[in-house]
Each structure stands twice: as structure tokens, then as C-alpha cells.
């Protein structure tokens, strides 16, 4: 590995760990680099199999973790809400529930909006929202799955994916014919070894990203059902995932019962960043509209905002009076508001920048399981274990 080693006393940032230390000028594959002595030693030990025991590896990982915290802390020069003090305070947030859709036979566990902003799919039915006539029509199309914990609309709006306790994610083409038997056209795409907790199409109808109780996420080709990439790194059930918003983005974030939120590169399967500050299961993760941050909702009754470029948590949304877990979060279009549904039957609306609560929305008679803002930002929908969906337009 090292072609030549020169011992020269220079002081500065190490090329490997970025700490200011006495450096050794060495050559790696004919390139001159400046490494501190710790990194040189680490590098030399990399290929070592003998003498490598669990305890030395553990010591190294503790070392690295401490170093990570140190690096992150160095850049923690200010809090987000302090910087946001100069931003105008939001006026009172008023929204009235316009439409409560009762009549679901079961708890509403999940829902998704179609990109055409008119349609929604929930864990039991497809719902059409028609602007011309100001009517919410329910397609008499029942999801032919037993316990649907995840559902998603394809970007084209022609296909729906859903799955749950059947450990699979299946894809159904939609048709306007109410009499059409959806179950007959079902196509199983994803296969996990435990329940499916979340699914999402990537930028096309052709690829599906899933997360599961088996602790993994996976990327599938819809047409062939082939596994394209799998993502290992969580040590417990993965409960939620969200794709980065950019068109060219190739990353997604996942949150799970191991209290960690992981950011992944879709192509390589590599876990790029990991955040572990929650004190309990992370139920929901959602990217900030710019893609530079993401929010999480957790059973520890807090929602948190993590900035990807600062590589740390930058805000906590919590109150002493809120003691129930947050099950679902979503941002408004500008990212200024964070809607979070809780197990105490309420939805809290937070000012993302200032960290304060802007409104509490009542209306459900059981846990709020899902909160989704429409793609055009003109409405949000909340689903609950009380078998209803509340549709709240501006």
C-alpha cells in the first residue's frame, strides 16, 4: 500500500480525518498524501486479520463514533431557531375540515396522493377528488390486500402499489371501470421476509422502493420483479422511507425501530449518513422540499429536523404536554410548516424554522396514522384508526 514513507514534520489538517495534527507525508498508490499518525496506523491495520478481535474493532468503532461527534460538534455554531429569530412569526393558522370520508371498513393505515393532485389512494379505497363539480367521489375499488400498511401512487397515476402483512408489495393497474376486478390484475413485485411497512415509486412507474419489518429496504424492477439493490444497515424493523425530491436525486432516507434514520445511495446500496438522536422508534421520515434536510416523527413524542449538509439534528419539535408518539409527518410546499399526526388523535402543525407549534387540529377519534400534503400544496389529508379520512383544503 505505501510505496515510500517519509517522516517529515508538518502540521495541518489530515487528509483522512481532517483534524489538525502533526502529519506524515506518505505516498499512497503513487499519490502524495498527508496523514496524521493515527490514520497511518489505522490504514496499516486495515488488512490485518490476525490480532483483530472483536474488542479491538469495538474500541476502534467507539473511537470513530467519538471522532464523528467531535467533528459534528465543531460545526454546531448556532441553533436553527436562533437564526430564525429574524423571520416573521406566522399568523394564526386556521383550517377547517371540509370533508370527512367515513365508510372505510377498517382503520386507515396509509394514504398517498396522485401527482395529478386530484386523486388519493388509501389503504382501503381509491378516492377521486374532482374540482369541476366540487365532489369527492370514491371509486368503488377496494384494495384486495388483507392488511395494507403501505400504499403508493405511481407517477403516471395509472398504477397503485400496496402491501402489508403479506410480506409483499403488489402492483395493480387502475381503471375507471368501477366494476373491474382489481385483484385479478395483481402483480407481485417485492418479496420480503417480514411485513411491508412502506413503499414508493421512484421517478418512474418502473421501479419500486420498499421497506420492511425484516430490517431492510429494497429497490425492485416492477416489470420483472427483480431485486435491483438491497439496503442493509438497520438493526430492527424499518418503518418508513422517503425519496429525495430532486429529479436527479438518487438518495432516500429510511427510519426504523432501531431509532436510526439512514440516508442511502440508491445505486450503490451504500449507507451514506446515519442519525441516531431519537429515543424511540422512528415512525415516519419526510424530506424537506429542498432535499437538504429531512424530518422524522417518533414514538418518543418528538419530531426532529436533520440537516444533511451539516450532518446533524438541527431542530426538535416537542412540548411537555405532548406525550404520545408521532406517527406521520409531512411538510407544506415551502417547508415552513410541518404537519405531524400523533397517537393522541391530534395533528400538530409546527413552524419548522422557529420550532414553535402553530396550531393543533382536532377531529379524529382515534390515532392519526397518516398525514399527507397534496402535491400542489392546496390541501392535506389525514387518515386515522377511527376509519375516517379528513380532507382539509385551504
Amino acid at each position: 500500500m505505501c510505496d515510500q514513507t517519509f517522516v517529515a514534520i508538518t502540521f495541518g489538517p489530515c487528509d483522512s480525518c481532517s483534524q489538525n495534527k502533526p502529519l506524515m507525508n506518505i505516498y499512497l498508490q503513487n499519490e502524495p498524501v498527508n496523514y496524521c499518525s493515527l490514520c497511518v496506523e489505522l490504514m496499516a491495520c486495515q488488512g490485518l486479520a490476525k490480532g483483530e478481535t472483536v474488542s479491538t474493532l469495538r474500541a476502534e468503532s467507539e473511537n470513530l463514533k467519538a471522532k464523528l461527534e467531535e467533528e459534528r460538534a465543531k460545526l454546531h455554531d448556532v441553533e436553527l431557531h436562533q437564526v430564525a429569530e429574524k423571520v416573521e412569526t406566522l399568523g394564526q393558522f386556521v383550517i377547517k375540515t371540509r370533508r370527512t370520508l367515513k365508510g372505510h371498513g377498517n382503520k386507515v393505515l396509509c394514504m398517498d396522493w396522485c401527482r395529478d393532485k386530484r386523486r388519493m389512494v388509501s389503504s382501503s379505497q381509491v378516492i377521486m377528488r374532482s374540482a369541476a363539480v366540487c365532489v369527492l367521489q370514491e371509486h368503488a375499488v377496494t384494495m384486495p390486500c388483507t392488511w395494507v400498511m403501505a400504499c403508493a401512487y405511481a407517477p403516471s397515476g395509472c398504477v397503485i402499489a400496496c402491501g402489508g402483512l403479506d410480506n409483499k408489495c403488489s402492483v395493480y393497474p387502475l381503471s375507471l371501470d368501477k366494476n373491474e376486478n382489481l385483484a385479478a390484475k395483481k402483480k407481485s413485485v417485492a418479496m420480503h421476509t417480514n411485513y411491508l411497512s412502506a413503499c414508493s415509486f421512484t421517478n418512474s412507474d418502473m421501479q419500486l422502493l420498499t421497506s420492511s419489518g425484516d430490517g431492510t429496504c429494497a429497490l425492485w424492477d416492477v416489470e420483472s420483479g427483480q431485486l435491483l439493490q438491497s439496503f442493509h444497515g438497520h438493526s430492527a424493523d424499518v418503518l418508513s422511507l422517503d425519496l429525495a425530491p430532486s429529479e436527479t436525486g438518487n438518495t432516500f432516507v429510511s427510519g426504523g425501530c432501531d431509532k436510526k434514520a439512514n440516508v442511502w445511495d440508491m445505486r450503490s446500496g451504500q449507507n451514506i449518513q446515519s442519525f441516531e438522536t431519537h429515543e424511540s422508534d422512528i415512525n415516519s421520515v419526510k424530506y424537506y422540499p429542498s432535499g437538504d434536510a429531512f424530518a422524522t416523527g417518533s414514538d418518543d413524542a418528538t419530531c426532529r429536523l436533520y440537516d444533511l449538509r451539516a450532518d446533524r439534528e438541527v431542530a426538535i419539535y416537542s412540548k411537555e404536554s405532548i406525550i404520545f408518539g408521532a406517527s406521520s409527518v409531512d411538510f407544506s410546499l415551502s417547508g415552513r410548516l410541518l404537519f405531524a399526526g400523533y397517537n393522541d388523535y391530534n395533528i400538530n402543525v409546527w413552524d419548522v424554522l422557529k420550532g414553535t407549534r402553530v396550531a393543533i387540529l382536532f377531529g379524529h377519534e382515534n390515532r392519526v396514522s397518516t398525514v399527507r400534503v397534496s402535491p400542489d400544496g392546496t390541501a392535506f389529508c389525514s387518515g386515522s384508526w377511527d376509519n375516517t379520512l379528513d380532507f382539509n383544503p385551504v
Binding site: 448556532v78 366540487c134 365532489v135 451504500q270 434536510a293 449538509r309 438541527v314 415552513r336 410548516l337 392535506f380
Partner: protein
């Protein structure tokens, strides 16, 4: 005998797991980070630039709102 075998396997599993953790941490330690002040400023800038396009924040004038009740609505 069985016990011995299983403890051996656990040991190598532990080493593999520990090694993976160390490699993962090395990857994470090397990423470039920016200051929170810069990250916060960027978040704030995004919010203010897009605030006027956010209906839930601003509200929409009744004339433009396609979902405003024009007549009694029904759920079919």
C-alpha cells in the same frame, strides 16, 4: 460440542458485524460537513423564496380556489 460450535460462529459473526460497523463509521467520518449557521440560513432562504407559492401558508383568494364551495357539496 454444539455449544462450542455455536459460540465459535457467534464470535466470527461478531467480528464481521464489528468490522462492518467500523467500515461504515470510517465512511461517515470522511464526509464533508458545513456549519449549522450556513445550513440554517439556506433552509430559511428556501422557505422565504417559496412561501408565496405555499397555499397552506398564504391561503388562496376565493376566486382562484377550485375547491371553494360554490354550491352545496355532496359525497357520492
Amino acid at each position: 460440542m454444539l455449544l462450542k460450535m455455536s459460540s465459535k460462529m457467534t464470535r466470527s459473526d461478531n467480528i464481521t458485524h464489528a468490522r462492518k460497523t467500523v467500515q461504515q463509521l470510517r465512511v461517515e467520518a470522511c464526509i464533508e460537513r458545513i456549519k449549522v449557521s450556513k445550513a440554517s440560513a439556506d433552509l430559511m432562504r428556501y422557505c422565504s423564496e417559496h412561501a408565496k407559492y405555499d397555499p397552506l401558508l398564504m391561503g388562496i383568494p376565493a376566486s382562484e380556489n377550485p375547491f371553494k364551495d360554490k354550491k352545496p357539496c355532496i359525497i357520492l
